[in-house]
């Protein structure tokens, strides 16, 4: 069966600051990151939709010990944001001192741009992720 939205298509769109997801024609749920079937009802009749990219921070951490190859990024803030459309998505938070972030940011509204992990010898090429900032 064909993918309605492959990782490659999702990734290329994100590099243009477009967050794509899938809307189920059966149950109406929005699935992002993409899957081959709806995250709620497992139906496959879905259409690609562009999401707002805005949401609010559900949780966060500041990373001080990096994986091999990403040492220069430290310290960096990872957030999980709940999008206005419902799904949760993982990205980084910018525009704030990583050493000063506290639980006070949980629940704060964010807007989205993107950053690209250029890939390393283990990964399958470059991979974009949302880069959030406080709205």
């Amino acid at each position: 069966m064909e993918h309605k939205l492959s990782f490659k298509q999702y990734n290329e769109a994100l590099k243009q600051n477009k967050l794509l997801g899938l809307k189920c024609k059966g149950c109406g749920a929005v699935t992002v990151p993409p899957r081959i079937v709806c995250s709620q009802c497992a139906g496959s009749d879905m259409e690609v939709v562009e999401l707002s990219g805005s949401g609010k921070i559900q949780t966060f951490t500041t990373v001080f010990v990096a994986p091999e190859g990403r040492e220069s990024e430290c310290p960096y803030v990872i957030v999980i944001a709940e999008l206005d459309e419902g799904p949760w998505i993982m990205g980084n938070l910018t525009g704030i001192d990583p050493n000063q972030v506290t639980m006070d940011i949980m629940g704060k509204k964010v807007k989205m741009a993107h950053a690209v992990f250029p890939g390393d010898k283990y990964s399958a090429g470059d991979e974009a992720r949302p880069l959030f900032s406080l709205a």
């Binding site: 990151p33 951490t61 993982m90 690209v116 991979e127």
Partner: protein
């Protein structure tokens, strides 16, 4: 299904970087398990091995076939289980199912890992491969990172102020080191204090060094046989009363449940249902304390305490010997060490020895039923095993 018994267990000392290969570590544990069971390598009909990172640590894949040859179980079917940190428990469960089904009578299950050998940067990178490479790793996620995200979520969801939660988490580490100091196989045999934990360096806010298990090398193995063979081999067979396994997608896909891990709740339910037992029947547990916060989440998901309340139970000493449910008397992943491919059957090793009354000053007197809980990735695999005295 037939009854299946564990009749021999073995494990190497868990450690930091050392000289032996993953094949050698597994073989060492396997021979100890065989000898304890009064079985010979040629009795083994199939081998089930947990191993995650030998491709990266040693340039060695398919270690299971080399192990079979190395220990003299030549040409037996040998399979590798890669379920991140739950690999050996997944291997154990499948080995159990094959004997229970009647297809095999005598099998070897276990695992080994040489993760410490890799050093922190490469180990951190390769452990992160157990998260979603497309939708989590680009943001720089690491495993301390996953549990740091859950710690903040736990604090907010249950209204436990972070400062108090961190002290509860520190107490978990202190307990692990207390028991680890009494386990000659543990990587860290040294007691520490709450201040040591709270003064250690920050890894991923709010998790500090002592909130995190170490990278470790080690191997563990168990011999499992059918009931009729067990009766001939030993007067102290430990029966597999229940098993459970469940999976989950990346952390984002689990949004309805977090900080609870749905895969644990499903796996635990399976193991309780199969055994006809419940949390109140468990005398001792080895659970997946990869990070201190993970212990709190596990205790609640397994049904020992209400959601958001396990930290209070830890404060009251309920997870130590004499408390409601003694937890990780081996020292747990934190102090005993966490060679990920070996961890699940090392938990079984401790429970079997607890049920046999062989644990010295960390013994739960009269323990009849024990349980293991092993988590792979950010909930991607969860296995539970309930073991029961057969005498």
């Amino acid at each position: 299904m037939r009854k299946v018994a564990v009749v021999g267990v073995g494990m190497t000392k868990f450690s930091g970087k050392q000289e032996k290969t993953a094949v050698e570590l597994f073989a060492e544990a396997a021979l100890d398990a065989l000898n304890e069971a009064n079985l010979k390598p040629k009795d083994i009909q199939a081998l089930f091995m947990g191993n995650v990172l030998s491709d990266f640590a040693e340039g060695q894949s398919q270690a299971q076939a080399f192990v079979a040859d190395y220990i003299g179980a030549s040409h037996v079917p040998a399979n590798r289980y890669e379920n991140a940190c739950a690999s050996a428990s997944a291997a154990f469960r499948d080995a159990f199912l094959w004997v229970a089904s009647g297809f095999y009578d005598i099998v070897l299950a276990g695992g080994s890992e040489t993760a410490a050998k890799m050093g922190t940067p490469l180990a951190t990178r390769t452990f992160a491969m157990a998260s979603d490479s497309r939708y989590e790793y680009p943001a720089g996620i690491t495993f301390p990172g996953v549990f740091a995200l859950l710690a903040h979520l736990y604090s907010r969801t249950y209204g436990v102020p972070l400062e108090r939660l961190k002290k509860q988490m520190a107490q978990i580490t202190v307990n692990s080191h207390y028991y680890g100091a009494r386990n000659p196989k543990a990587q860290f045999q040294k007691e520490i204090t709450i201040d040591d934990v709270l003064n250690s360096f920050m890894v991923c806010q709010p998790l500090q060094l002592y909130d995190c298990c170490p990278f470790s090398d080690g191997g563990s193995a168990v011999m499992m046989v059918s009931e009729d063979i067990a009766k001939k081999l030993t007067s102290k067979p430990v029966y597999v009363a229940g098993v459970g396994q469940a999976s989950a997608g990346n952390l984002l896909s689990q949004k309805e449940y977090l900080p609870r891990l749905r895969s644990r709740e499903l796996a635990a339910e399976q193991s309780y249902k199969m055994s006809g037992l419940g949390p109140k029947d468990i005398d001792v547990i080895e659970l997946h304390d990869c990070f201190s916060i993970a212990t709190l989440i596990a205790l609640e998901g397994l049904g020992f305490f209400e959601y958001g309340k396990s930290g209070e139970a830890v404060e009251k000493g309920e997870t130590k010997i004499g408390g409601k449910i003694p937890v990780n008397l081996s020292g747990g992943l934190k102090a005993k060490g966490h060679p990920i491919g070996a961890t699940g059957t090392a938990q079984v090793y401790e429970i079997v020895r607890q049920l046999r009354g062989e644990c010295g000053e960390r013994q739960v007197e009269g323990a009849k039923v024990g349980m293991t809980d092993t988590l792979g990735g950010d909930g991607g695999t969860l296995c539970n095993i309930i073991l029961k005295r057969g005498w």
